[in-house]
């Protein structure tokens, strides 16, 4: 039987000899952010290939690659691109969501500081595919170095004729603009981001109309995460077959995973989807430094998972983690050590969401921002009463699924999962006025 008829086993481990890092391949090379270095490594080959195969073929390849949005929601990127009304003759926009604010996520930061051209190339390809002539990069305000590197990269690309009029003689015009946010988590929500970009208050907009119909300035717009654009560059460069050879059945490709907390080597690691938590934590991050009781798998808004063999041996892909009751999110793992109070850790996250609530809708503004945070503060101070946990659960029921955008639900992720997994800690704290792990916490002010 010829080899070609047997589909090769998909790559689901970074230890597989066939796996080659692509997104982070150039991080660490001296001057990796310069145009010379990027082009020396074969940069802007993908753009040339895109021009050669044509814009419809690019969208087609993106669909076939199975890439799902890397910002957290995991919506198929190719499908999103195909929603753009391609022949309406209007101005189209491409926006890069670089407002990476989710606690536990820090992959986009290094993609921008270390390899900005990879992202720019992906944006130009996206603009070419979706007939857009303008792109915006909305960078989180705190990412000063990233903004400077991206600005410099845009400048270099313009000088080299990779941005501007008639790029590489293709007849395609495209330009990019950087916008720095002013420090609001809600700006990572795509419609709030567009409002912020327009100079309005960063409140999420009503959907429909979806951005592909009426986005920024009321014109068709597509927003993708930094990593999604970088992945697009790699997909167009190496082809969808290569990309979809990695990952599991429904979660294709590779992804950047981040790990923080008490581990040997916290940081960003590139793994194929379907790699296990164990591979990530032990083989790449070098294992925990102290006993761990919970894992947050995909950034602070995803529910906590217990530190068990079942979880550790579960593949990290969209479906498996959902089946375990959590979400892949941005792939930002946070390890919570055994000897720290879970209520205190959750309070730290609730404080974040209360602080970042935009104030548009009642359940988030009053429920999270006005009440939930005070409940946790009360518990942590040892002033909790029996019934408080039930009250938190009932409040969560009144908030969950009823808010305008996902921010309130994001806050409920750690709240509900911590109560579900560590109810005894809550009860101990309420009964004794202090945590079984002592009163202090690494998250206290």
């Amino acid at each position: 039987m010829p080899d070609t008829l047997i589909p090769p086993k998909p790559i689901t481990s970074a230890l597989d000899s066939r796996f080659k890092p692509s997104l982070y391949a150039r991080v660490g090379i001296p001057n990796s952010f310069s145009l010379e270095s990027y082009q020396a490594g074969g940069g802007y080959q993908a753009l040339r290939r895109a021009f050669a195969i044509g814009n419809d073929a690019v969208i087609d390849e993106m669909k076939k690659s199975g890439l799902r949005g890397r910002g957290g929601a995991g919506f198929p990127t190719g499908l999103k691109w195909s929603f753009m009304p391609l022949k309406d003759g209007k101005q189209h926009y491409v926006i890069c969501n670089a407002d990476e604010s989710e606690p536990g996520s820090f992959k986009d930061r290094y993609l921008m500081t270390e390899d900005p051209h990879q992202m720019l190339e992906g944006m130009i390809i996206a603009g070419f595919a979706m007939r857009a002539s303008m792109g915006y990069i909305y960078i989180r305000g705190e990412y000063v170095l990233a903004a400077e590197r991206v600005w410099a990269a845009i400048h270099d690309a313009r000088v080299a004729g990779l941005l501007g009029k008639n790029i590489l003689g293709s007849g395609f015009d495209f330009d990019l603009q950087v916008h720095r946010g002013a420090g609001a988590y809600i700006c990572g929500e795509e419609t709030a981001l567009m409002n912020s970009l327009e100079g309005l208050r960063a409140n999420p907009r009503l959907k429909p109309p979806f951005p592909a119909q009426a986005g920024i300035y009321g014109l068709p717009t597509t927003i993708n995460n930094v990593e999604s654009f970088c992945a697009a560059t790699q997909i167009i460069r190496y082809g969808w077959e290569w990309y979809s050879s990695m990952g599991t059945e429904k979660s294709k490709g590779n992804k950047l995973f981040q790990i923080s907390g008490p581990v040997q080597r916290p940081g960003v690691f590139e793994l194929p989807l379907g790699a296990t938590f164990r591979e990530m934590i032990f083989d790449f991050a070098g294992g925990p430094l102290e006993p761990i009781k919970a894992i947050i798998p995909g950034g602070s808004s995803t529910p906590m998972m217990p530190w068990t063999d079942t979880v550790l041996d579960a593949p990290m892909d969209y479906e498996s983690i959902t089946a375990q009751g959590s979400m892949l999110g941005t792939g930002g793992l946070i390890l919570i050590p055994q000897n720290y109070c879970i209520v205190n850790a959750t309070w730290n996250l609730v404080r974040f969401y209360a602080h970042e609530s935009c104030g548009k809708c009642t359940p988030c503004r009053e429920g999270i921002g006005g009440w939930m945070v005070k409940m946790y503060e009360k518990l942590v101070r040892g002033q909790g009463k029996p019934g408080d946990v039930e009250l938190i659960l009932d409040m969560s029921d009144n908030i969950g699924g009823k808010s305008f955008c996902a921010l309130a639900d994001a806050c409920l992720g750690p709240v509900l999962s911590s109560i579900k997994l560590f109810r005894s800690e809550y009860d101990y704290l309420i009964a004794n006025g202090k945590s079984q792990y002592g009163g202090s916490s690494r998250w206290a002010d």
Binding site: T362, P363, G370, W371, K374, K402, S403, F404
Partner: protein, 716 residues
């Protein structure tokens, strides 16, 4: 489209939101952020319902439930905000289940945790949406045990509007209102999360329409400062009537307490003002209660030098009888302000005819009226090109400016259902881009409309009109727009309309050339109605400016010619400048106290109803005419609203006593109409425009300063 709400299957038009479907089914759902005529935003999350829809399979047919064989309903996993949920064919909505009630009560608990609950001292109490909804849908108790948010309380946002940030429930109605209706963004949220509060970054509220936010605020956060603390909502007598401050004729509710006018609120009229009012119409009523005279007065010693002494009507009539007995009835002049009702106008017309006098007039008025049928306000909002010549719309007919703003937004009107105007019409988005090219404004002084127009210039409306007719090359773009437009409208303001027949003729030629409609902004509130009556002077010296008569009745006009030496009867609410020279003062009722009919600028008849205001012995013009009839031993033909309405039934074949609430456009053709008016005015010396009565905001005139200057110069 069929939708099932709690087991009731109803037919609703495509595009209906789920909240309107629930109301259409005769059920109720609480809401705070939605507001008719504003875009839905889904911020308060009160209007939660359970909803599900059938789905189509890959083969294009509905997926059927295996057990029942009916289309399977795919339910949303959680209750949805019905204001932002579009109803679809076959959708099933549950608004009354226990889980929906729990969700709504939970949301109410959140809404109330930072609300101060100071209802006993809050002016909104008794008419508060939050109070009502909390009572109907809340737990009745709160589990919130922490300090409430504290913010700035009751400080003046402007002279007329007071803000209490603690009471605000962040529904965003006021913010959306300013952006969407007048197009003046003067309020916004500041800060975020639970610290979010409403405020203005500027001094005050620089808008002519700021009072409307006090009507739409669902709580007592934004309150009418003029009526603040002057009564509880259940103490007011509410009277549904029409504002006569300008010629738009907005529907209002006049609230009186203990016989005193305390508050005016907007009332819905889809055709005219939607629900909005201008600030002049809303707040400018306090003049009425200050130094009002409500008894007849005569002079001590019978000379003008004598001091005023209160008298009975009998004494006043006796005095008038004595004076008028010496004068021929043809030598008596009858002059009135042009905001009288149609019925009063008819009484005046018939009484003048009975006296045989030529000296009858109403002021302010232009010397000529157009005979063309004006566009309706809805047509203005639907127009695709509007040319404004010599008008300061924000001053002359303020709410018309809101219809122009609607026109710039594309003229989308909210749907109407049996339960009223759509609560949430999902076709209305936030922040619509204005189509400024649809509006061109020329007037000699820049006004608020200039900033909204695609093309605007400070040139006189009359000269622009002249050049437009001459086909000036400078206006090539305008000609192109006029030709391309399907529904163009030309609006003439006071600056042009006061110039007389020749200029009006030019405007009529222009609109006929482009198949446009012509809207001439009337000089006073009921000018368009009175222009169809014989209320213009017919001989030399009979006009109000000349006033060469032996005796004159002057009703609610501020001035009389300086050289007038005859017997002067002044009918007014206050001791005006004219009254200081009068021989007898007869107390007048205000427009808030009258019953009758009013014709607005589109020719729509609207019903005035008298509010429960204590006006003492004051009478309307018909009452004064009755008194004059007594004095002259004449029986006036028209002695009351009913006899006047009987006469109009004959003339117009319309029953003015039972007009629909939205009013009715009157067809004047076949009556002695504006043609007569024009013929009569050809011999008239000039208009009587020096007789401006300051409008309800004392010291601030309805007609702009530049027009006033023109009027003072006269148009002869």
């Amino acid at each position: 489209m069929k939708v099932t709400v709690d087991g009731r299957t109803i037919e609703v038009p495509t595009g209906t939101s789920a909240i309107d479907a629930v109301f259409a089914a005769g059920l109720d759902v609480p809401y705070f952020c939605s507001q008719p005529y504003l875009s839905p935003i889904g911020a308060c999350r009160m209007c939660l319902v359970e909803a599900g829809s059938p789905r189509k399979g890959p083969d294009g047919t509905l997926i059927l439930d295996e057990k029942t064989g009916q289309p399977k309903i795919f339910w949303f996993p959680k209750p949805q905000a019905s204001c932002t949920l579009m109803a679809s064919e076959g959708m099933v909505i549950v608004s009354q289940s226990a889980s929906v009630k729990k969700a709504q009560a939970g949301m109410m608990e959140f809404t109330l945790i930072n609300h101060p609950l100071d209802c006993p001292t809050c002016d909104k109490g008794g008419a508060c949406e939050l109070q009502d909804r909390a009572y109907e849908y809340g737990y009745g108790d709160s589990r919130f045990e922490f300090d409430r948010r504290h913010a700035d309380k009751h400080y003046n946002l402007s002279e007329n509007v007071v803000l209490d940030q603690e009471r605000c429930i962040h529904c965003k109605r006021c913010v959306r209102y300013f952006e969407e209706v007048p197009g003046e963004e003067v309020l916004d949220f500041i800060e975020r999360g639970s610290y979010t509060f409403i405020d203005s970054a500027e001094e005050g509220l620089p808008s002519n329409f700021s009072g409307n936010i006090t009507d739409i605020c669902p709580v007592g956060a934004l309150l009418d400062n003029v009526s603040r603390f002057r009564g509880r909502n259940w103490e007011y007598d509410h009277t549904a009537t029409v504002c006569t401050a300008c010629s738009v004729g907005c529907s209002i509710t006049v609230d009186a307490r203990n016989g005193q006018l305390e508050r005016i609120q907007g009332r819905e009229n889809y055709q005219v003002n939607q629900t909005w009012l201008c600030d002049g119409g809303r707040f400018g009523h306090t003049w009425l209660r200050h130094e009002r005279i409500t008894t007849p007065m005569i002079r001590e010693g019978g000379t003008r030098a004598g001091a005023w002494v209160p008298a009975t009507w009998d004494e006043a009539i006796r005095l008038i009888r004595g004076k008028l007995g010496e004068i021929s009835s043809k030598n008596i002049g009858l002059y009135s302000h042009a905001d009288i009702t149609l019925e009063e106008g008819l009484a005046l017309e018939r009484f003048a005819a009975q006296l045989g006098t030529d000296s009858v007039d109403h002021a302010p008025r232009y010397s000529s009226a157009s005979t063309l049928v004006p566009p309706t306000l809805l047509e203005v909002s639907q127009a695709d090109f509007v040319l404004v010549l010599g008008a300061d719309v924000h001053e002359e007919a303020p709410v018309l400016a809101l219809r122009l703003e609607e026109m710039l937004k594309g003229g989308l009107l909210p749907a109407r259902y049996e339960h009223g105007t759509a609560i949430a019409d999902l076709r209305m988005p936030e922040r619509v881009v204005r189509q400024r090219h649809k509006l061109v404004v020329f007037s000699s002084k820049s006004n608020l409309l200039h900033g909204k127009a695609g093309l605007a210039a400070e040139i006189s409306g009359a000269s622009a009109l002249h050049d437009l007719l001459a086909g000036s090359a400078a206006f090539a773009d305008i000609f192109k727009s006029l030709e391309a437009a399907q529904k163009p409208i030309v609006i003439l303001g006071a600056e042009v309309a006061c110039l007389g027949r020749a200029v009006l003729q030019e405007a009529e030629t222009l609109v006929q050339k482009y198949n446009a409609k012509l809207l001439v902004l009337p000089a006073a509130s009921n000018s368009s109605g009175l222009s169809h009556l014989q209320l213009v002077p017919r001989g030399k010296g009979s006009s109000l400016q000349a006033m060469q008569v032996g005796a004159a009745l002057v009703s609610r006009l501020e001035q009389v010619p300086a050289d007038f030496a005859g017997f002067l009867m002044v009918h007014d609410t206050h001791l005006t400048e004219a009254a200081t020279r009068a021989d007898v003062f007869l107390p007048a009722v205000s427009s808030y106290e009258k019953r009758g009919t009013f014709i607005n600028l589109e020719g729509r008849a609207l019903t005035l109803r008298g509010a429960a205001i204590d006006a003492g012995e004051s009478v309307d013009l018909m009452g004064v005419i009755g008194a004059l009839g007594d004095a002259l031993n004449l029986k006036p033909e028209i002695r009351g609203v009913r006899s006047a309405q009987r006469e109009f039934q004959k003339r117009l074949n319309i029953d003015l006593s039972s007009l629909p609430d939205e009013g009715q456009i009157i067809n004047w053709s076949g009556t002695s109409s504006a043609a007569t008016f024009s013929a009569a005015t050809s011999s008239v010396h000039s208009s009587v425009t020096t007789m401006w009565k300051p409008n309800m905001l004392r010291g601030k005139n309805v007609v702009p300063q530049q027009a006033r200057e023109l009027f003072v110069g006269g148009d002869d």
